[in-house]
């Protein structure tokens, strides 16, 4: 989205886009019935994949269904799972937030730093969540007010926030957190057998599902992702919605940072390094369109399960942990290629036709 100044130019371009939209099977604001059907198919595929990975896990290891393993499954993927939710919303709106892993790292570092400086833990948690929201706000303002592409902005802040994290903690590793908090890294939520992070993920997924699929805000996110110009003309405050999404992303990134710190009982600046790739891979595997406009929380939820269980099953069979990147990378490719094969072709052709118009 360009800034305010060139709006007339955008308007002229919007006509062309609208014509294109008429020809293309692209839905307008909100998912159409046709879109939903298509996604039911993708989610059915994911559900099948889920059954497959569970069978794989059971078949490969007698340890798969033990309570220890099920707890560990949630523990080791909880933060990634939580971060897929805001990532999904941002991607549906046609943007991306790669800085979320550094938001996690910086939040973790700040938790450690403030704990070293004898702050009380509840105050630290609140401070860090506010900080996360601010980090998201910076991303949001850079993207919407300066009209910069979010890919570039958040690659920048990915590095920037990680750098600040390193300055905050340096080589120090803080690990003397109180047992009341670090117990979330070893105990299940009573009565569930699931880790705290897994339960938080389920709750947030339900909230995200309601927001995205049953509120005006959610519909506006889909509309913006499908066609930002058209959304603007239907009265949606595109910039405000996008900024809100980045703030939510930062807030959730900070929450993941707090959980990560307590789970591993460790605050260090390198925490969470590399997780964003898993987050993006899962979101795309969940059927969220990388170009925006389409996706469901159910799809992402299923993708989280498929991804986590597959990694866990491989781990139990002594698949080298260093090679787990193969799983992430492979899923990422499958997720992009399979559902978008048709789209990619169409878009390629359309882009070529619209070349002088450029990206936005």
């Amino acid at each position: 989205m360009a800034g305010d100044a060139p709006r007339t130019a955008v308007a002229a371009d919007a006509d062309a886009t609208e014509t294109a939209a008429l020809e293309a099977p692209d839905p307008g604001p909100g998912p159409t019935w046709r879109g939903s059907r298509r996604y039911l198919r993708w989610e059915s595929g994911l559900a099948l994949a889920l059954v497959g990975t569970v069978l794989l896990g059971v078949g490969l290891s007698g340890q798969f269904l033990t309570s220890t393993n099920i707890l560990n499954l949630g523990l080791s993927n909880g933060e990634v799972a939580i971060m897929t939710l805001p990532m999904m919303m941002v991607v549906i709106a046609g943007e991306i937030d790669l800085s979320i892993q550094s938001t996690l790292a910086l939040s973790s570092s700040v938790v450690g730093y403030l704990w070293l400086h004898h702050w009380s833990m509840p105050l630290i948690i609140v401070t860090v969540l506010v900080l996360g929201a601010l980090l998201g706000l910076i991303n949001g303002l850079l993207v919407t007010r300066l009209g910069l592409p979010s890919l570039a902005v958040t690659i920048g802040t990915l590095t920037l926030y990680a750098g600040v994290a390193e300055i905050v903690l340096g080589a120090t590793i803080v690990s003397n957190f109180p047992a009341a908090y670090t117990s979330i890294g070893v105990n299940a939520v009573p009565g569930t057998g699931l880790s705290y992070s897994a339960v938080i993920f389920v709750v947030l997924a339900v909230v995200t599902g309601v927001v995205m699929h049953a509120t005006a805000f959610g519909r506006s996110v889909f509309a913006i992702g499908a066609n930002a110009d058209a959304a603007l003309y239907t009265g949606i405050r595109v910039k405000r919605v996008k900024t809100t999404l980045f703030v939510v992303s930062g807030l959730v990134g900070a929450m993941a940072g707090v959980l990560f710190t307590f789970r591993l009982s460790t605050a260090e600046y390198g925490n969470g390094n590399g997780l964003v790739l898993s987050v993006v891979a899962i979101v795309l595997l969940g059927g969220v369109n990388i170009f925006g406009g389409r996706g469901t929380v159910a799809g992402v939820f299923l993708a989280v399960l498929v991804f986590s269980i597959l990694q866990n099953a491989l781990l139990l069979t002594n698949f080298p942990q260093s090679a787990s990147g193969i799983v992430t990378g492979g899923l990422l490719l499958v997720a992009i290629l399979v559902p978008n094969a048709g789209d990619l072709l169409r878009r390629g052709r359309r882009l070529v036709r619209r070349m002088p118009g450029g990206w936005s």
């Binding site: 080791s76 590793i173 690990s175 117990s183 591993l264």
Partner: protein, 329 residues
């Protein structure tokens, strides 16, 4: 090494007088600080006669697992995965004295045996297998450097990670030993995180920040090798002395060309071997972790549990030009 005296016992089954016979088929996970670290490869592998060799000889299911970085956030998920895999015992070099504790204590409560080796987590293990007394290690490195520097000049330390229990303990004893040499001044401690590139960078940083630096101690095998590579130029060779803890294979070249005159270490393979043996003894209820309990660790002979639930491998060993070629690890 006192243990060598009783080495004649060989691989005889090690049922102690009072204890139960050793169980077979135990799942024992060996968790070094990180993978791809030649010190731990030696400590753990079958080929070098380390922890996995002991486990194989005892008929256990041994496996080495760890993360790729020397940090608790890299090591802990692996430990959790090992517990998922149904571990009976863990043999761990702790990346942090306390960060692993919630997980390890929960595991011990469920009956998993936790033995630390190389780097301790005192609050959450049954036994610590100590490679050499920390005083001995800290003192020997300072003494080697003092001799080479004729007791004077600026020196610095290139350590691993700032949270490593063993590194910090040794550096503490180095400071104590330095009081014997009032003309030697410790000007800086830098951290290479047991990563070659980082260790190289921080060593270069030291040399440019302290032009009068006369000596470097690197009490970690990755650090000393990286520092030696930096010093191995006409500008620094022999002018900035280097010692610390290194492996003979990595240091042979630098000892031969005079970059390094002497350095210390224990035999990491013996350390891993002893730790694995102790873990199996505990998991079989053949011994407890009480002071005075003793067991025979195969080819290494007899060991006794000392104060603080620790077992001491032996005194550090100094490698120099005259003996280094006898060692291969």
């Amino acid at each position: 090494m006192g243990a060598v005296m009783t080495a004649g016992l060989g691989m005889a089954p090690a049922a102690t007088a009072a204890g139960h016979p050793l169980k077979k088929g135990l799942k024992v996970f060996v968790v070094p600080k990180n993978l791809g670290n030649s010190y731990f490869t030696t400590a753990d592998s079958v080929k070098s006669g380390g922890a996995l060799a002991a486990l194989k000889a005892l008929g256990e299911q041994g496996q080495e697992t760890s993360g790729t970085a020397d940090s608790p956030s890299s090591q802990l998920p692996v430990i959790q995965a090992d517990l998922s895999k149904g571990a009976n015992a863990l043999v761990i070099s702790a990346t942090d004295p306390t960060a692993l504790c919630p997980t390890l204590n929960a595991a011990m409560k469920r009956g998993v045996v936790v033995v630390t080796y190389d780097s301790d987590a005192p609050a959450c293990r049954s036994l610590f297998i100590n490679q050499a007394s920390p005083q001995g290690i800290g003192a020997v490195e300072v003494d080697i450097l003092a001799k080479e520097l004729h007791n004077q000049g600026q020196i610095a330390v290139v350590s691993a990670s700032a949270s490593d229990t063993n590194q910090n303990t040794w550096i503490g004893y180095m400071k104590t030993e330095l009081k014997k040499y009032p003309k030697m001044k410790l000007v800086s401690i830098v951290y290479g995180n047991d990563d070659t590139a980082t260790s190289t960078q921080v060593t270069q940083g030291l040399l440019s920040r302290y032009p009068n630096l006369k000596g470097i101690i690197s009490p970690t095998t990755v650090g000393i090798a990286a520092a030696a590579a930096v010093l191995d130029t006409a500008k620094y060779r022999g002018k900035v002395k280097l010692t610390g803890l290194g492996t003979p294979d990595e240091m042979k070249k630098y000892v031969a060309d005079g970059t390094v005159q002497a350095f210390a270490l224990w035999n990491p393979a013996s350390l891993g071997y002893l730790a694995a043996y102790a873990a199996v003894e505990l998991a079989s209820h053949s011994i407890t972790n009480a002071k005075g309990q003793s067991f025979t660790a195969g080819k290494l002979g007899k060991f006794t549990v000392g104060a603080g639930h620790t077992v001491l491998l032996g005194p550090p060993f100094v490698f120099n030009k005259s003996n280094i070629n006898k060692f291969n690890f």
